[in-house]
């Protein structure tokens, strides 16, 4: 699936006029699907570099709180922590949840590395074969990741408080979609976790 998504990013980036090398380098370094899609589509619609950087960075600000949750699980020297932290993506982080807010380091790194290989490989194939493949949305891929997130969410909601955070997060995000730049709704939704401060 990561391969298919990487493929669609390659196709889209190429169609947006990003050339062939830049999308692949971006997949290797940025390694965050939604931000890369956002950057490519802003460039493709002539939005300019600043808007593309803004949209993509905003989408990725969620990695600040996410990386905080991973911090207790990653030990070792700081260069090794730096390297391992780059394998954090929504999917690797989501599958590595081991309950109680803890993250399983092996799962995170293993899944992250696997996703990275497929993501970069998919992007390369997509860039090279852009001419032969049609619109990736036709294959229903845009619904595949939300479905994955939903399945992971169901497994995570183990208390009333978690359910409340989920409902609140989704509501905040949807309410903000019409009024804010891409990325803002997701970041704002992370505020829903503050219900954890409320003592019963």
């Amino acid at each position: 699936m990561a391969f298919a998504f990487g493929l669609s990013f390659g196709v889209l980036a190429k169609a947006s006029g990003m050339g062939s090398l830049a999308p692949v380098v971006m997949s290797m370094t940025t390694f965050a699907g939604s931000a890369q899609f956002a950057a490519a589509s802003v460039i493709g619609t002539g939005g300019g570099a600043l808007a593309a950087i803004g949209a993509a960075s905003l989408l990725n600000t969620r990695y600040a709180p996410i990386s905080l949750t991973v911090a207790p699980s990653l030990g070792g020297s700081w260069p090794s922590r730096l390297l391992q932290s780059q394998l954090i993506v929504d999917e690797s982080w989501a599958v590595a949840q081991s309950g109680g807010g803890r993250v399983d380091r092996r799962t995170l790194v293993g899944a992250g590395a696997l996703l990275w290989v497929f993501w970069v490989g998919g992007t390369t194939v997509g860039v090279l074969g852009a001419g032969f493949i049609g619109d990736p949305a036709r294959y229903g891929l845009d619904a595949a990741f939300p479905a994955l997130f939903l399945a992971l969410l169901v497994a995570l909601v183990d208390s009333r408080r978690a359910l409340l955070a989920a409902v609140l997060g989704a509501t905040i995000a949807l309410a903000l979609v019409p009024f804010s730049a891409a990325g803002v709704p997701i970041i704002a939704a992370s505020l829903a976790c503050l219900v954890g401060l409320w003592r019963r």
């Binding site: 006029g17 969620r62 030990g75 807010g101 229903g140 619904a143 949807l174 019409p178």
Partner: protein
Amino acid sequence: MPRGAVAPVSEVWLVVLVVGAVTVGLKAAGPVLLGGRDLPPFALRVVVLLAPALLAALVAVGIFGGDRELVLDERVAGLGAAVLALLLRAPILVVVIAAAVATALARGLT
């Protein structure tokens, strides 16, 4: 910009470099600064809820999000298929494939 057009090369690389650097920094922030240490209990209570909140937001925006608007389109069929598969206790891969197939089918019909 028409298909196959080329954006200014330096502009594209500026985006690639800046977004790459920002993302590397954001991902590294927690583990490099805190690595290996435990979070205080009140922080843990908040952090536990971060996953459900963010995942729910990603689902909602992924299905209903448009360009600064909420839209009802074929992705809803995908969501429906995913929910059905989850209710039937299907494995995650089946849930994901069901969503993609349902969305693609709905697109084929419309």
